[in-house]
Structure formats: structure tokens, C-alpha cells
């Protein structure tokens, strides 16, 4: 269970929140003119990023507000929380990659131990 910082209420346990999917997918205004394929992009297609990912949460048991967060889905570390309508903050940190410094894109299991350089990272 994460600690999530609601932009309105502050730090609370994840159990008070519900994950509400990828952020910044806005509903097309001119959908009539869209092809089925374009519409399917909006409806179904997701980045599902491994790494820094913008997502929505709702503080379901608290203030009932939706808000956005940036989280590294490879590590589950939250990097920012911001309100709906706000731009995601620039994260100029090096993407912290996975807990053990592995590159985003690899598994986590190979990095349970610090390996000697000769073992090849």
C-alpha cells in the first residue's frame, strides 16, 4: 500500500484511493469525424508505460476529487501529485530506474544482489 499525497487532503493510505487509469487522455470533441481506428485509439489504446507514467487517482474515501500523479511503474515510486488541469511537472531527475539501478525495460529479478562488475550488468 502506497502513501499517496492527495493535493487537497495530504498524505493518506492508498486504501482511501482508487486508481483511475492513464492520465491526460482527453475525450475527443469531434468524434463524429473520427475513423473507427482513431476512435479505438481513444477508447482502448494505452501507453502502459514502464517508467514514468502519468495516471489518475480519485480520493474515494476522502475528498472525492480526481487528481493526477507521476509514478515510476517500474519501481512504484511516486514522483509528483498535481491537480486535474495542471500540467505534469517536469521531472529533471534522472529517471531513477528500478530499485537496484537496472535499466527500465529489464526485469527486477536479475538485480536482487549487487553484482561484481565482471558478472556484467
Amino acid at each position: 500500500m502506497f502513501v499517496i499525497t492527495c493535493p487537497y487532503c495530504g498524505e493518506r493510505d492508498q486504501s482511501e484511493f482508487a486508481h483511475a487509469g492513464e492520465a491526460h487522455i482527453s475525450r475527443p470533441r469531434e468524434s463524429e469525424t473520427m475513423t473507427d481506428a482513431e476512435w479505438a485509439e481513444f477508447l482502448f489504446m494505452r501507453d502502459n508505460t514502464k517508467g514514468i507514467h502519468a495516471e489518475r487517482w480519485i480520493h474515494a474515501a476522502g475528498c472525492r476529487r480526481f487528481f493526477n500523479a507521476l509514478r515510476n511503474t517500474a519501481t512504484d515510486r511516486f514522483l509528483a501529485f498535481y491537480r486535474i488541469g495542471e500540467k505534469p511537472p517536469e521531472i529533471d531527475d534522472v529517471v531513477p530506474a528500478t530499485p537496484c539501478g537496472e535499466a527500465v525495460g529489464s526485469g527486477n529479478d536479475a538485480v536482487k544482489v549487487e553484482r561484481p562488475p565482471e558478472a556484467g550488468r
Binding site: M1, L43, T75, S106, D109
Partner: protein, 416 residues
């Protein structure tokens, strides 16, 4: 590859087990292959096996970033059934179940396929109605299925709490007697051994980091063990499907969530079958070694960390104790998580893509283990022929454009 049999066991036993040879080779990647399968899970290994066996493609490789069977295949609760609602699903899962039935023999590797029966419980009228609908559809599709009332349920699984006074009373259930469980690791190893024997290179510790293309056509792979030339790349990477597809700019209707499971300490046989309840998210069977194997619900958030939250497990345990009150004093020995690739209609994708030579098999979510042989079989066909066969056709990416979904979640929220 030596043959496995009682005879070979006795022979080897007598000479100190010194004569066993590796179940599969440990080759370095060759510079080029006719096809490369990314992902050494059950589905990927099965795909390779059927490509080699049925389609005669022997110059192929499976590349796995870690150890084979270490993804969801190595962490699933191994529930096997084919009693799905829709024709398309019933077809592929039943195809798989038929293959499972003879797989130990075919692979010469005992996958401990146990047809001990799967119960899906209904706790209210609406669920009961849906289950009956499914039983009827199954019957007409030639899939074995029965609907049981509380008394028959109690006979089949005496330890279940069928009292009418509980929060989620058990008012009915479907039973698929041919359903059951098997030994997940053995399936992966068995496929690997059999594929290897047909000449397939199984390359572990080899992570794909880039897919190389030219003019919309796959030309090769960049891996942690060097570049590989190939014109066919088949991704079977479950939780990482979006990551792999992202390498060629293909977006998919998939989100990757943690899904957890746990085992109890080893116990003498107490649960004779597989029990599943969608309403309370209970999935419980007992392994041949004795642990109760219990699947939990999915975590609401997406994640690639292969771990989930405790509160999911807490709810899980409350539900288990509700349905099996005699389990309360038993202990959880180990919990773990996998990364499941969930599609909006809870059905998989077996599809070509807009990139020539790039094929995707994924989106099996919480319930793809049972499909392993069927999925591999159908996917091999697609990769070999560049066109889906009848079983795979309903599962192409097209359906998200047309809207012709295979909406199994209507019938089962979680489809272990």
C-alpha cells in the same frame, strides 16, 4: 535428449543419477534466425515447440530476459478449465484443454495434469443466472459443464461453507470435471526440452531492448546478448507486451497490473478440487505437494514491480475464511506477485500488427495459463502462415476497431 521413463529412472538410480543430460541446451544466440520468439513463458515455449513440430521451422529461437518460466507462467495458480461463455473463447480454451490431456505423453515430461474438477460459485441470483447461461452455452459448444445446487456442492467439496446465513451464501455452482490444475514449472520445462530437441535455441538471460525495422518490416532484434537478424518476431511477453510493442510504436489496449497469489504451509489433502468465486475473489486449490494455492484479486493500479499490496491479501484471507472456516488457523507461507496484461474485454490478443513480421500474443490477463498449449498452437500457425487460423481469428487487434469484442468479463470479472 534421453527418454524419461520408469526404466530410465531405475537405470539412473542404480548408477547414482550420473547419466542425466541437460533438459535443454544453453546456446549462444546465432546471428540470424527464421523467427525469434520473445518471452520464454509457457506460451512462448509452446509457440516455439509447435512452430518446429507442426510447421517445420527449426531455425528459430526463444529469447528470454531472465530464466524460462519466470514470468507469469512461474507464478500462476494453474487453474485450468475451458467452460468459457463465448464461442470464440470456448473454442480456444477447449482446444487447449484437449492438448493438455495428452501433453505429458507428447512432451515425455509429466506435467501432472490433474482433472480434479473446477467449481465456480454463485452467491446471488444474478450470478446463478449467469452461470446457468454459461453452462448451457458450454453444453452446446461441447464443453463439459454442470450446474450444481448447494447440496451437490457440499458433496463435491465438503469443506465449503454452504450455510445460507453467510454474507455470500453459496447458492449454486458450475462444475467442469475435466478442469483442474497442473504443475506450471513442468509445463515450461517440458516444452523447452521438447522444443530444444527439435532444434529450437532457447536463450536465457537475453533481453530484447530494441526491435529493428526497415520500412515497416521487422529486420532484427537488439538484445543484451547482441543483435539478431530475423524477419519474424513474435512477442509473447505477458506483462511486458506493451513495452515490447512500444519498441515498434504499436500501441495496445493493455494495462499491466499486479496480480498476487499465495500458498499455505503444506497440509495433508483437504481440498479435493478447485474452488473459484468471483464475488469474493477466492481461487483455491491444493497442490500435489500439499500447500493450498490461493489466488488473490488484481491490484487496482498498474505496475511492473511484480509485487502487490497487503490489503488485497487481507481481503483475500477474509474471503477464504468465510468460505472455508476451517482454514482460519492455517498459515500463509509465501505470497508473491506477477504482472498481468489486462485487455478491456478480458480476452487475449493473438494478432498481426501494422509492422510486417511483428506478431503479438498477449493480453491473457489473469487467466492465460489454461490456454498455454492452445495459444502456442494457434500463434505458431499465425507466425508460420502470416494469417490467423479459425481459432485465432476472433482475437486479432481488429476487434478493438470494429467493436466486435469477446467480452468475457461480463461472464467472469476475473478469469483465472
Amino acid at each position: 535428449m534421453g527418454n524419461y521413463s520408469l526404466f530410465s529412472i531405475v537405470r539412473e538410480g542404480l548408477r547414482g543419477n550420473t547419466g542425466w543430460t541437460p533438459a535443454w541446451r544453453d546456446p549462444d544466440p546465432k546471428p540470424s534466425y527464421d523467427a525469434v520468439i520473445i518471452g520464454g513463458g509457457g506460451h512462448g515455449l509452446a509457440t516455439a515447440y509447435y512452430l518446429a513440430k507442426i510447421h517445420g521451422m527449426k531455425n528459430i529461437a526463444v529469447v528470454e530476459k531472465g530464466w524460462i518460466g519466470g514470468g507469469n507462467s512461474g507464478r500462476n495458480t494453474t487453474i485450468i478449465r475451458s467452460n468459457y461463455l463465448y464461442d470464440a473463447s470456448a473454442a480456444i480454451y477447449e482446444h487447449a484443454l484437449k492438448l493438455w490431456e495428452g501433453l505429458s505423453q507428447e512432451l515425455n515430461y509429466n506435467i501432472m495434469m490433474s482433472h480434479r474438477g473446477v467449481l465456480n460459485l454463485a452467491h446471488d441470483d444474478n450470478e446463478a443466472r449467469q452461470l446457468k447461461r454459461r453452462v448451457e452455452a458450454n453444453r452446446l459448444n461441447g464443453v463439459d459443464a454442470e450446474y450444481l445446487g448447494p447440496k451437490e456442492i457440499k458433496e463435491f467439496c465438503p469443506i465449503l461453507n454452504t450455510s445460507p446465513d453467510i454474507r455470500y451464501p453459496v447458492i449454486g455452482a458450475t462444475l467442469q470435471r475435466r478442469g483442474g490444475t497442473n504443475r506450471h514449472d513442468a509445463v515450461c520445462w517440458g516444452y523447452a526440452r521438447a522444443a530444444d530437441a527439435l532444434g529450437v535455441d532457447i536463450i536465457q538471460n537475453c533481453e530484447v531492448t530494441e526491435i529493428l525495422t526497415e520500412r515497416g518490416q521487422v529486420t532484427g532484434l537488439r538484445t543484451s546478448r547482441g543483435d539478431i537478424r530475423t524477419e519474424k518476431v513474435a512477442s509473447v511477453t505477458a506483462g511486458h507486451t506493451s513495452v515490447i510493442a512500444g519498441m515498434v510504436g504499436v500501441r495496445l489496449p493493455i494495462e499491466s497490473h499486479p496480480l498476487q497469489a499465495l500458498v499455505s504451509e503444506p497440509l495433508k489433502p483437504v481440498n479435493p478440487c478447485v474452488v473459484m468465486s468471483n464475488a469474493v475473489h477466492v481461487y483455491c486449490s491444493q497442490s500435489d505437494k500439499g500447500e493450498l494455492v490461493i489466488g488473490a484479486g488484481i491490484d487496482g493500479h498498474t505496475s511492473y514491480t511484480q509485487r502487490g499490496s497487503l490489503d488485497i491479501i487481507e481481503h483475500q484471507m477474509a474471503a477464504i475464511v468465510e468460505l472455508f472456516p476451517i482454514f482460519s488457523r492455517l498459515r500463509m507461507m509465501r505470497q508473491w506477485g506477477g504482472i498481468v496484461d489486462v485487455c478491456p474485454d478480458a480476452s487475449p490478443i493473438i494478432s498481426k500488427t501494422e509492422i510486417g513480421g511483428f506478431y503479438v500474443n498477449g493480453g491473457w490477463g489473469t487467466g492465460g495459463w489454461k490456454a498455454t498449449p492452445g495459444s502456442g498452437h494457434a500463434f505458431a500457425d499465425l507466425v508460420a502462415n502470416d494469417a490467423p487460423n479459425a481459432i485465432a481469428a476472433p482475437f486479432t487487434l481488429e476487434r478493438f476497431v470494429t467493436g466486435d469484442l469477446v467480452a468475457e468479463h461480463g461472464a467472469a470479472a476475473v478469469a483465472h
